[in-house]
């Protein structure tokens, strides 16, 4: 069994004592696309707190603003109003260079598809954020994660040589190895079949349970949401409900 509460660089997080800490705090988020009659408003004064070291699912009807929320929280897109705080950093008002640095060091992202740079091997993809930031690479940790994700044999393969499920696992590994404060996942299982999807969910669950990560995942699948600690419901750009799941089950579930 792996250790819990690994050392995150200079930021030591102990999941047992920080369950109530806030990893991401969004206040009065507003996002508008277009102008005039054609204006769409995916986020309408949305406020939200994501607890650290927990697995949060985001659900809601199509077009309710889930993806937009993810992008704004992850610093990929700027809101038109309100503020976002990731860890202790206020994203609003950061210039592009600082924002990029926050993304590189504190945020991991898993997309629904097209997560990997096609011309890089799995290992290069995994190490990309640290390479970009010229940070030293913790080889031992990389090997640990690769082994845990069953990628050891695949590290030198290019994405087109991997199955969709394997590609998603590489994306998860990338999000883990750079040891970000928060991992965002936008429908990470949307393109996968049942088995592969379950595998990815297991990994995200493990990221929280074993590596003390904070995970926020958008999903349309109630089954997937059931693996989370809490579920946030969005409708029409607003937060409508928060469901606390039953106490976390032991892992693995079998």
């Amino acid at each position: 069994m792996l250790r819990c509460g690994l050392t995150w660089g200079d930021r030591t997080v102990d999941p047992m004592t920080h369950t109530s800490a806030v990893a991401v705090k969004a206040t009065d988020l507003i996002k508008t696309y277009g102008t005039g009659d054609a204006a769409v408003r995916p986020l309408k004064r949305l406020s939200l707190e994501i607890p650290a070291a927990r697995f949060t699912a985001v659900m809601g009807p199509s077009g309710s603003g889930k993806s937009t929320l993810m992008h704004v929280l992850a610093g990929l897109d700027a809101p038109d109003g309100g503020s976002v705080i990731v860890g202790d950093v206020e994203l609003t008002g950061l210039d592009d260079r600082r924002l990029t640095r926050v993304r590189r060091e504190r945020i991991g992202f898993i997309f629904q598809a097209y997560n990997l740079v096609p011309s890089m091997t799995a290992q290069e993809n995994i190490l990309l954020p640290s390479r970009l930031g010229r940070a030293s690479v913790d080889r031992a940790f990389l090997e640990l994660v690769a082994e845990r994700l069953g990628l050891t044999e695949r590290l030198h393969h290019r994405p087109f040589e991997l199955s969709g499920g394997q590609q998603q696992r590489v994306a998860v590994a990338r999000a883990l190895v750079s040891r970000p404060d928060v991992i965002f996942a936008d429908e990470p299982t949307g393109n996968l079949d049942q088995a592969a999807g379950a595998e990815v969910l297991d990994l995200l669950r493990a990221a929280v349970d074993e590596f003390g990560q904070t995970v926020i995942m958008v999903t349309h699948d109630a089954g997937a949401a059931a693996r989370a600690d809490r579920t946030v419901l969005l409708a029409d750009g607003r937060l409508v409900d928060t469901l606390e799941a039953p106490p976390p089950r032991s892992w693995p579930p079998r």
Binding site: M59, P61, S62, S67, H71, L76, D77, D96, R97, T100, R101, R103, R104, E105, F109, F111, Q112, A113, Y114, N115, L116, V117, P118, S119, M120, E124, L128, P129, R131, L132, G133, P159, G164, R174, D186, G190, N191, D193, H220, D221, A222
Partner: protein, 845 residues
């Protein structure tokens, strides 16, 4: 290494290779030019060295023609100076001669005693009836040792004493092509001119620069007394003076080489910008992903720039090697075929540095714009499925404005260059203007393609053209890039074609103007003989009558009055407006020569013609150099009774007749009509010799432009390959939405055809303009009009090639790929290929 750079290099693949090939070809061209000019200069230098070799001082006495005694006396005085070993007066003379059985012109000089020459055969001329010639001269006249060379006395036309060839000298000699001994020079029928005095110092001082200067001063003093016009140069000064002469020639060569080099490099720059544009566009989602996981804008920019720099370094290094190889090959060929002494080609530091720096800087600069675009990628682009990618931005105003300004300035400069006859201004203006057109193309091309697509849709009522029109709005950047690549190629090739045709036609018209009839003989009885000649395509008898031209003071000169019919002119002449109006006439040049010219050379003259049994005829005559001596061409309405038997024969030669063939016909005319009968083939000769020159010049220009065309073709194939990947996704979506396989293919080829049409329209127009302006700027002065010639047949071929090039590769690839099947569009089976959001699992809570 920057991880982004590494990923870029890996994903660039064949496209990077093609861009590298483009820069390598351009650099190779520049390097070859530089190395060839360098070798050429060294060749000339060593020739100058070789000839000055042996002489310590040279006294230039060719100005002293007034007193033939002075140079000889001066030479004797110099000989008497203490430090002088030998002072030889070198004389030269010219006269017509029969050389190896052929008529020619012979220039002889005395062979300097101390000139180190190499004999390939025989020895130096010693006796008065011996002559030594250069190998080149011998080749030209088919001479060998033992043959005779007989000069004529130019005044009387009598043959002089023959010389026998006793030796052949290798290489080119500055001093001349045939050499005789001093005794031989005295025997020459024409008076010899003193050229120079070659001074060799006494044994121990030979080659000593200090002694040379001292003797130079002593000679200077002698010159002061005798011949202040003469100048004396030391060995070093001679070589320097000759090299200065040469510098002009090398400068012209450098200008030509660099002018065409600039075109090649410019085209390569455009091709590379295009290639990088394509690369960046095809990497958009990867770049966005990199941004999303923490790459800064600067890292992406730098990676693209570094990619360009790296490509530039590698491409130019290959180019330098290629260029060296090409120059080496050319140098070897030159030694084998033309100039034995051609200096070996050496890789110079200048050529290496210029090649490397030029290639690297141009490639780096070419990747600048694409790099900026790479830096502007937003991370959000990684999250957008391709099928809902937002339309690329509207018309970029700044780019269009800069483009229009550059275009107007550049094309204006081209017009100015055409009017001022300044080729360099023309090249610069054309490049600037073309750049402007390419920048503005982003605003024009998509709109035109869209318009054409909609028009086609209206006409055919088909769905495919409408999709093309929509695409033009959706991806104007891609459309413009592809069209630009075609545009570059089309413009270059059309410029070349139209330029060649225009030059040809202008020279033809110029010739037709001066020489409307190829040959004429004052005899009506040669028709059958000349018609038997292959080179003669037609002949006609022009009726005439012997007459006398009478001047105001009563002097009379024999003349032959002829009048050609309109049919004869149509059949024989190269322009129709040659016949004089009633009361006017054409006069052969002979009327302007001799004791009593009818007027100043070339001016209009009033002459009176008289013949037995005819009314005197007074006409306004204009000079026509193409008429046999004594000929007057009058209007057929002049009222005289002209007879065919008393007339002339006019001939037309084939357009491909060579100088030799013309000379042969000339010989036939002499044989049949007799040597006394006035005849002229001057027009045919001029045409034959000029057409040879034009062909050579056009060939050289073609070869020089070939590098640019190769680069442009690389660019076209490069850019066309681009869209194939993008198109697969697009095509898969359209297939999923119900477009048939054939429909997709039609979509691709319709778009390609429309792009090619736009490229042909713009490139064709620019090419015609550049071709005309190029020729206009190259003619030295306003001496001749430039007649634009548009060779429609060849342009048609270019159009067909462009259409085929534009439509076949993508269509072919799509066809090979089997056309997209809708299944490929399903999200599960190939997620990166296509993500269709509409097929997603329904929402459930």
């Amino acid at each position: 290494m920057n991880p982004v750079l590494r990923a870029n290099l890996r994903s660039g693949g064949t496209r990077l290779f093609a861009a590298g090939a483009a820069i390598a070809v351009a650099v190779a061209f520049v390097v070859t030019s530089l190395l060839m000019v360098d070798a050429f200069s060294r060749t000339m230098e060593s020739q100058a060295e070789a000839e000055a070799a042996g002489a310590d001082l040279m006294v230039e006495v060719s100005g002293l023609v007034d007193d033939p005694q002075t140079p000889a006396a001066l030479a004797d005085q110099i000989q008497d100076l203490d430090d002088v070993g030998d002072a030889q007066l070198i004389r030269s003379a010219f006269a017509p001669a029969e050389i190896g059985g052929r008529d020619g012109f012979l220039g002889v000089s005395e062979l300097p005693e101390h000139l180190p020459v190499e004999f390939t055969e025989g020895r130096a001329a010693e006796a008065a009836d011996e002559i030594t010639v250069t190998e080149q001269f011998a080749d030209a006249y088919g001479l060998t040792v033992g043959d005779a060379v007989t000069p004529e006395d130019p005044a009387t036309g009598d043959a002089g004493d023959p010389y026998t060839v006793v030796g052949l000298i290798s290489g080119i000699q500055r001093a001349g092509s045939a050499f005789v001994s001093p005794a031989g020079m005295d025997a020459f029928p024409e008076e010899a001119f003193p050229e120079s005095i070659r001074v060799v110092l006494a044994e121990s001082l030979h080659g000593d620069a200090g002694a040379q200067r001292i003797v130079q001063e002593q000679i200077q003093d002698l010159i002061e007394q005798h011949a202040p016009e003469a100048s004396v140069l030391t060995h070093e000064e001679i070589v320097e003076a000759w090299l200065e002469d040469l510098a002009g020639t090398s400068d012209i060569l450098v200008t030509i080489g660099l002018g065409f080099g600039a075109i090649a490099v410019f085209v390569a720059g455009l091709v590379i910008t295009n290639t990088f544009g394509v690369l960046v566009a095809s990497r958009m989602s990867t770049l966005a992903l990199l941004r999303a996981v923490g790459a800064t804008a600067r890292q992406l920019k730098q990676a693209t720039l570094a990619e360009g720099a790296l490509l530039g370094v590698v491409g130019s290094a290959v180019g330098v090697l290629l260029g060296f190889g090409a120059a080496y090959g050319l140098g070897t060929a030159a030694r084998g075929l033309w100039l034995e002494d051609f200096a070996p080609v050496r890789l110079t530091v200048v050529a290496v540095v210029v090649g490397l720096v030029l290639g690297t800087v141009v490639t780096g600069a070419a990747s600048l714009f694409p790099a900026l675009r790479a830096g502007r990628t937003s991370p959000m682009q990684a999250l957008r499925p391709a099928d809902v990618a937002p339309a690329e931005g509207g018309v970029p105003r700044v780019r269009t404005t800069i483009g229009v300004v550059l275009g107007v300035l550049g094309l204006g400069a081209v017009v100015a260059a055409a009017l001022l006859h300044s080729p360099l201004l023309g090249v610069a203006g054309a490049m600037l203007g073309f750049l402007g057109v390419l920048l503005a193309a982003r605003a024009i091309v998509p709109a035109v393609v869209r318009g054409l697509g909609l028009l086609l849709a209206r006409i055919t009522g088909g769905e495919v053209p409408r999709l093309v029109a929509q695409n033009a709005r959706q991806t104007p950047g891609r459309l413009t890039t592809t069209t630009s690549a075609l545009l570059i190629g089309v413009t270059l090739v059309v410029t070349m074609t139209v330029g060649a045709a225009t030059a040809q036609r202008s020279l033809d018209e110029e010739q037709a103007d001066r020489y409307p009839v190829d040959a004429a003989v004052a005899s009506a009885d040669v028709g059958a003989a000349v018609d038997a000649e292959d080179a003669v395509t037609g002949s006609a008898t022009v009726p005439g009558e012997p007459a006398e031209e009478t001047t105001e003071d009563g002097a009379q000169a024999p003349a032959q009055v002829v009048a050609a019919s309109a049919e004869t002119v149509a059949e024989i002449a190269r322009r129709d407006d040659l016949l004089p109006e009633p009361g006017q006439a054409l006069l052969s040049a002979s009327f302007y020569e001799g004791e009593q010219p009818v007027a100043q050379w070339g001016e209009t003259a009033t002459v009176t013609l008289k013949a037995a049994g005819e009314e005197p005829l007074q006409v306004q005559g204009e000079m026509a150099g193409w008429l046999p001596p004594g000929t007057v061409v009058v209007s057929s309405a002049a009222g005289w009774d002209l007879q065919e038997a008393e007339g002339q024969t006019w001939m037309r030669f084939s357009d491909t007749a060579t100088v030799d063939e013309v000379m042969q016909v000339s010989g036939t005319l002499t044989d049949v009509a007799g040597a006394e009968t006035p005849a002229t083939v001057e027009a045919a000769l001029s045409r034959a010799s000029i057409s040879g020159v034009i062909d050579t010049v056009l060939l050289v220009v073609l070869i020089l432009l070939a590098a640019s065309v190769v680069v442009a073709v690389i660019g076209v194939s490069n850019t066309l390959a681009l869209s194939v990947f993008e198109r697969r996704r697009e095509a898969a979506l359209l297939r999923a939405l119900g477009l048939s396989r054939g429909g997709v293919r039609r979509l691709v080829s319709t778009e390609a055809v429309l792009m090619a049409v736009v490229a042909l329209l713009i490139g064709g127009g620019l090419g015609v303009f550049f071709g005309w302006a190029g020729v206009s700027s190259l003619v030295a002065e306003d001496v001749m009009g430039v007649a634009l010639a548009v060779p429609w047949g060849r342009l048609g071929l270019i159009a067909a090639a462009a259409l085929a090039a534009a439509s076949s590769p993508p269509a072919l690839r799509l066809a090979l790929w089997g056309g997209p099947s809708p299944r490929r569009a399903s999200p599960r089976s190939s997620p990166p290929l296509l993500r269709l959001r509409c097929l997603r699992v329904p929402f459930q809570v």
